[in-house]
């Protein structure tokens, strides 16, 4: 499903080169629920942005569904994002001026579905998250947990095969977080591959596989058997990778000058 080989991502300024990802390798099989953890600044979000085709990378190969993503045009990557990938963000990122139905409808508009099909999918997605009755409400009229469920509905409306969640419960209280997590688990059970970045070790443990990123590299894999018959990912590294160098280097030429 997702295959990253020797991916590097370097952010350059005049003085500093920051290696957000270095020789990053990861395989995610179809139907997996992978939790990504790691300290702040370790490269989790960069990994998620690259996985979601929101950012390019400096080196390496990235295959999504067998398609090589390297040097893909903006139109193509936008189409892949629209058709195959669903996003859930920590801050929900709903468009405040649009009501729930219109928010969920946005990706379907870009997909070119007709009005009837859009309506059907919006209805279905909002029913799935239990908010069909409030489709005319504005996001500001909902609680945080409800807004996140709308964001999930928006991600699901396009029936993606791949869901990327960046700390989806980060802004929610524990009860809301549990509800959202249960919803994600249900979605995963229905066959959607999920990669979730989280700081919450408890939530991470509920995923099938836990990946730890430290200083831009995959540090450890841990398999959790859910007993639900999912395929699960293969162990990619026998040992935790020990990071001994700083992932920020100074540009010596610039410094000297």
């Amino acid at each position: 499903m997702l295959s990253m080989k020797n991916i590097s991502k370097v952010f350059k300024t005049d003085l500093v080169e920051t290696h957000a990802l270095r020789d990053f390798n990861l395989e995610v099989a179809e139907g997996e629920f992978v939790a990504v953890t790691g300290p702040s600044g370790s490269g989790k979000t960069t990994f998620l942005n690259i996985a979601g085709l929101l950012e390019g990378f400096t080196q390496g190969d990235y295959f999504l569904d067998g398609v090589n993503i390297s040097n893909m045009s903006d139109n193509k990557s936008a189409a892949i994002r629209n058709e195959k990938i669903g996003f859930i963000f920590q801050g929900f990122n709903l468009i405040p001026d649009l009501n729930l139905a219109e928010n969920v409808e946005v990706p379907l508009r870009y997909r070119g579905f007709n009005a009837k099909e859009r309506k059907r999918r919006v209805q279905k997605a909002l029913e799935q998250v239990g908010l069909a009755a409030r489709m005319k409400h504005l996001p500001s009229q909902l609680s945080g947990g409800q807004q996140q469920r709308v964001a999930i509905a928006r991600a699901l409306a396009g029936e993606p095969r791949f869901l990327l969640a960046d700390e989806p419960t980060g802004n929610l209280d524990s009860m809301m977080a549990r509800q959202v997590m249960e919803l994600l688990e249900d979605i995963n059970k229905a066959g959607t591959t999920i990669i979730m970045v989280t700081h919450d070790a408890e939530l991470a443990r509920r995923a099938q596989r836990n990946i730890q990123i430290v200083d831009g590299q995959v540090c450890d894999f841990t398999m959790y058997q859910s007993g639900e018959g999912h395929q699960g990912g293969e162990r990619a590294s026998e040992k935790p990778h020990l990071v001994t160098e700083s992932h920020v280097s100074l540009n010596q030429d610039k410094v000297a000058s």
Binding site: N82, F89, N93, I95
Partner: protein, 433 residues
């Protein structure tokens, strides 16, 4: 998607009404000024003869002596006009000038009016495509055997006869009875190209009388009278035989061949006049100009007007620069939302289109408001400076031109802000929302 973008644009405009209003105002002021100057320029530079422009030719003769002015005069002497009327080369021809006569009717209560009257030949009406609602021009025979006949226009006919068919009725000009033979529709080409001697942007006369009556009734010229020769003119007969230039002369030719034939005829006429001691300048010649050439020759559209249009276009550019700044601020403020849209599948092209539709909508609003400004400023020009109506009415073409210019200008101003917003990295804004 266009209607979706239109819906988003309308929501965005409603969301920031003050900023949107400022942008609409900025572009509308620029458009208003541009359309005002463009409107005046267009009305001044219009060729009112249309397809007949090449067939109608103004006749000029270098008849003045060698010490006189060094250019063709716009008008002829009476004796030259009289002689030229005898040519059988052109299809039609007419001599003419403007006079002023006191108008009375048979109604004893009618207060006499001093009216401007065009003294002309019967061909005038066909040559310049004057439409009639009642009757027609006087017969051709009247051009040689004078009769007291008159053609009036629709406005005067309404004033005098309540708009009824007045053919055969009598009106009095300088106390002489004239029989009405024709009533024209309201007709006033702009510019009034067949007589630019007293200004090309005035209304046409309401009354037309036969040129053949001039020597009988001794009509005085209300137009320009130019003379290069010191002559004693004590009576009308002396005026008719003088070298004073006061008659306009136009001819109609079928095609270029006939125009050349007529030019040859005029050349021979000049030579004949030289033989009898007139036209003693070495530059003596005849010149024919079609309507377009005539308008250019007489600089009906002054160069200043072109400069004014250029300056107003520059002002529009200044307005657009202001609009660009406002758009940039507005669009970049929306970057987080655009980040979300990009993340969930919008391509750069789609985001660009969305913003260009919004810019186009603002431009359209500016265009419509600009038309209102143009209408207001033309009305003010008309009332404050007493300009002719023909120059200050908003031409119908401007109803289309203004929104098109406004939308185009707005799209030009909006391109950079739209490019900026669609090229922002979505991932930067997703985390920060």
């Amino acid at each position: 998607m266009f209607f979706y973008y239109l819906d988003l644009a309308w929501r965005s405009i409603k969301k920031t009404p003050l900023m949107s209003l400022l942008m609409v105002l900025a572009i509308s002021i620029g458009i208003g000024i541009t359309i005002t100057t463009l409107n005046v320029y267009q009305l001044m530079s219009e060729n009112p003869a249309g397809e007949r422009s090449d067939k109608l030719v103004a006749v000029q003769l270098w008849s003045q002596g060698k010490d006189a002015w060094k250019e063709f005069n716009n008008q002829l002497t009476y004796q030259d006009a009289y002689n030229l009327r005898k040519s059988d080369v052109p299809v039609r021809q007419t001599a003419m000038f403007i006079t002023g006569l006191a108008l009375q009717t048979e109604d004893p209560d009618f207060v006499p009016l001093l009216e401007s009257v065009r003294v002309t030949d019967s061909d005038f009406f066909d040559m310049f495509s004057v439409p009639f609602i009642y009757g027609k021009a006087w017969d051709k025979g009247v051009d040689t055997e004078a009769l007291y006949q008159v053609v009036i226009n629709e406005v005067l006919n309404k004033q005098l006869f309540s708009g009824e068919d007045s053919i055969g009725k009598t009106l009095y000009l300088d106390s002489k009875p004239y029989q009405i033979v024709g009533v024209t529709k309201t007709w006033s080409p702009s510019p009034l190209y067949f007589d630019v001697t007293t200004g090309a942007f005035k209304d046409s006369a309401q009354i037309f009388v036969p040129f053949s009556l001039a020597p009988i009734e001794e009509f005085q010229s209300w137009g320009n009278n130019q003379s290069w020769k010191r002559e004693s003119i004590n009576n009308y007969s002396q005026r008719l035989n003088s070298e004073m230039h006061w008659i306009q002369f136009w001819a109609e030719v079928q095609d270029d061949k006939q125009r050349d034939e007529y030019a040859q005829w005029l050349k021979r006429y000049v030579e004949q006049q030289q033989l009898i001691g007139r036209f003693d300048s070495p530059e003596a010649a005849a010149q024919l100009s079609n309507v377009a050439q005539w308008l250019e020759l007489n600089e009906v559209v002054p160069e200043d007007n072109k400069i004014l249009v250029g300056l107003s276009a520059l002002f529009l550019v200044v307005c657009l620069v202001n609009m660009l700044g406002l758009l940039l601020a507005k669009f970049l403020k929306r970057a987080p939302e655009i980040g979300v849209r990009r993340a969930i599948g919008a391509s750069r092209a789609q985001i660009f289109s969305q913003h260009m539709v919004e810019v186009g909508l603002i431009g359209f609003g500016g265009g419509v408001l600009g038309l209102v400004w143009a209408w207001v400023s033309l009305s003010l020009l008309s009332s404050r400076f007493d300009l002719e109506q023909s120059l200050t009415h908003l031409d119908t073409s401007m109803w289309l031109i203004a929104p098109v210019i406004a939308i185009f200008a707005a799209l030009v101003a909006g391109t950079y802000p739209a490019l900026r917003i669609c090229s922002t990295n979505p991932s930067v804004h997703l985390k920060s929302q």
